[in-house]
Symmetry: C2
């Protein structure tokens, strides 16, 4: 038997290219961001939904671009059905809304936080499995839903403790109106796609692209001037108005932007958090009204960590009922990369604030009673399962990042005391608990809340 097990070949425990394991430190950070997002979304009345990871292929390929179709994980299932794994949360939501709108009632606000899969080129540091956190309001064209969308984004970053971020907002109708006036309406998609590159690629590259598309020099000039407009809302709106020309479409865009700016102010968002940025078009044709991106001021090169906008019709592929809406999507992986770069992610591998050392084997029942009291007091407690050397246990507590270790050995039990060791500083203090586990738990809890490292 020993022989056969020694000879048995081992399967290499590898993951697929573009896929990752999330170890505790990483998974804790992810759960924290998802919790914060959920709390904020819920605060505005968005309700959770979920949809299957697998859908009929025709549902997924109906809307997607050629690029997403190519990246789709697709196969034939046991029943001979052509199926695919969802590549975003918008297409499943469109299908969901079409199927359930009568039961849901309108307006309807949902959030959906789930994994999506794309067989992308992984060269650019992209993953083939990643999490999206979408929220949308459908069934209303009210500007109140637009401004609430921006309030959600604002509250989300405040709740995440990000102090300096800026929401860049525009309305697609400004550029659309100008394109109309310039006689370029038919080429809107390609032109907007070029203008969208302005911040990254620079004016010369975009000007050359526009020229190659046959846009006259004067028209390109006006488009580039418009796309370069960025700044404090009230000032910018006047300037944008004069540049956009007098079309009714542009006027609608200006009106919606002005209402959003006013509403955001009324709701108490500090000045400076929102800028009007006429260069934002967002690649997709999908958007028809306001569009926005969110940048971390300290890491502008990271790109937008939360984007979205208003659209005219969510689910036209699946129902004849028109479902206008507005929404946004938080890019979890990109945001976490940013927060890590800024040193904003705590370095802990454990959710437990307290590490309870298993010191005196004969006192197991007491340790269990103490751990239970601390948990009743709302603390998360790691109780080491074996009465090993205290040094061995504390070494693990330190590696894992437990903020506080509680050491109670025979002497401490005899004197009704406990050693509290702050793992970051290494300082120990003695506390008196006289065998009263609830009292011990209360003091430990008090101490924990004062430690700087325990924010979440």
């Amino acid at each position: 038997m020993a022989e056969s097990s020694a000879k048995r070949s081992i399967i290499e425990p590898r993951t697929l290219k573009g896929f990752r394991d999330h170890l505790p430190a990483d998974a804790l950070a992810r759960e924290w961001v998802l919790d914060v997002a959920r709390r904020v979304y819920r605060g505005y009345g968005f309700a959770p939904i979920d949809t299957p990871a697998l859908e009929y292929l025709e549902v997924l390929t109906g809307k997607g671009s050629e690029e997403t179709d190519k990246q789709l994980y697709r196969f034939t299932d046991h029943g001979g059905r052509e199926v695919g794994m969802r590549f975003d949360l918008t297409v499943p939501f469109a299908r969901f809304a079409a199927a359930h709108v009568a039961r849901l009632g309108l307006p309807f606000k949902r959030y959906h936080m789930a994994s999506v899969w794309r067989g992308e080129n992984t060269q650019r540091g992209r993953y083939r499995e990643f999490v999206q956190c979408d929220f949308d309001t459908i069934g209303t064209t009210s500007g109140v839903a637009d401004l609430e969308t921006l309030l959600v984004v604002h509250d989300l970053f405040v709740a995440l403790g990000v102090e300096s971020f800026t929401i860049h907002v525009n309305d697609r109708r400004l550029l659309a109106g100008l394109l109309d006036e310039l006689g370029l309406a038919a080429r809107q998609t390609v032109v907007l796609r070029s203008l969208d590159k302005l911040a990254k690629a620079g004016r010369e590259v975009v000007a050359a692209e526009l020229a190659a598309q046959g846009v006259a020099a004067g028209a390109a000039e006006r488009l580039l001037a418009m796309a370069a407009l960025e700044g404090p809302p009230r000032e910018l709106l006047a300037e944008a108005g004069s540049l956009a020309g007098g079309s009714a479409v542009a006027a609608e865009g200006l009106g919606s932007l002005a209402a959003v700016v006013e509403g955001v102010e009324a709701a108490g968002v500090p000045a400076g958090r929102l800028v009007v940025d006429c260069g934002i078009a967002r690649g997709l044709d999908y958007y028809t009204g306001i569009v926005f991106e969110t940048l971390l001021d300290e890491l502008p090169s990271l790109g937008s960590v939360c984007s979205g906008g208003r659209y005219d019709n969510l689910a036209g592929l699946y129902t004849r009922q028109s479902l206008p809406g507005v929404g946004g999507s938080l890019g979890l992986d990109r945001l976490l990369a940013g927060l890590e770069e800024l040193g904003r992610l705590p370095d802990r591998e454990t959710p437990a604030e307290v590490f309870l050392v298993f010191f005196d084997e004969s006192r197991l029942a007491d340790y269990l009673r103490i751990a239970a009291a601390m948990r009743s007091a709302g603390l998360a407690v790691e109780f080491y399962p074996e009465p090993k050397k205290v040094g061995t246990q504390l070494k693990l507590a330190s590696k894992r990042g437990h903020p506080l270790a509680v050491v109670i050995g025979p002497d401490e039990f005899a004197s009704g005391t406990a050693q509290l060791k702050e793992m970051a500083s290494g300082t120990s203090t003695t506390l008196v608990w006289q065998g009263d586990a609830d009292r011990l738990a209360a003091v430990v809890r008090e101490r924990i809340t004062k430690l700087p490292s325990v924010e979440r």
Copy 2:
């Protein structure tokens, strides 16, 4: 244009057989259970991890039974790799542990709550996509980890508000020792599989199966007597000891059970929550020590909603390092079905406690200020986005299950009052806030906490 859109064919917004959309009421209940489980798991120091939905096929098929292999969703990916979707969280955890054990350190405690996929026969009300919530401690053979596992299960159901549940615990070594003594060790797997059916199929069916397996009548008698033992731990342990015979293996099993029973008591678990049940074997060969199942007393026919046990070696397929462990798995879908049947799931389609009616269009800025103040006070607030008729808005508030509606029209603004309408009872009260949004928020919050319907 109108013509082409009218003629465009519509894709039917259907889901695959065995897959489901989760609408808000359902999704809220699921998030609630997952939140509670996460809080309890974390309270014991279990840390979150995640693994990819897709794995190399060889990783998944290495361990699985013929049945799971057949149910596996598998295909060839863009890079020509044979891949499969995970069908449980145990195999990915084994692969994960083998890959990362050096970095993680031992003992290591993790929870993992995620979807798994099985192309099962859906006739029996089974789904092809469902969520598992696993927690395991690996790298220790200590009985403390065993009893902590049962404490987690206990705390979990208490936290879920389930008042009457029973954890049935056994140790596989009791039956294994008896089988040894009866000379049936080689047939352990099939015999245990038969005995596992005792509660459901009855004594006669199992006796016939054992006879068909060539188990002598006297031996079958002893096995059946042992498997029928169930009751209060201390009484049962003595009886089990005399039935199990004198083998060293059985003695180990008895010792571990006795330690678990004692520890659970010491940690404050009320008598009656834990019974020793010598009939529990759990189908898998995998388990080698304690095994347990959890039944809702009011719904025994539902079957176990949380099961697990101790195993000798988690990851033998992927590493030569021996990783003993113990853990459990909460069956989210089955538990939710049970809670629903017992009427324990609130009937709400929204997370927002407050529905703020949009009454007077000219007061938008005030409504935004009020909603912001209520959110700052920790309330979730749905603000209706359009100034429609109050009746229309309240109808939606009632359908969705918002506990409280706040109505402030021109008269109320003029007099500094607000109408608070409890949606369940229909009673309205007038409150005075004098334009102070924070004061309004504080009163509404106070009122909300007193409503019986708002437990979570």
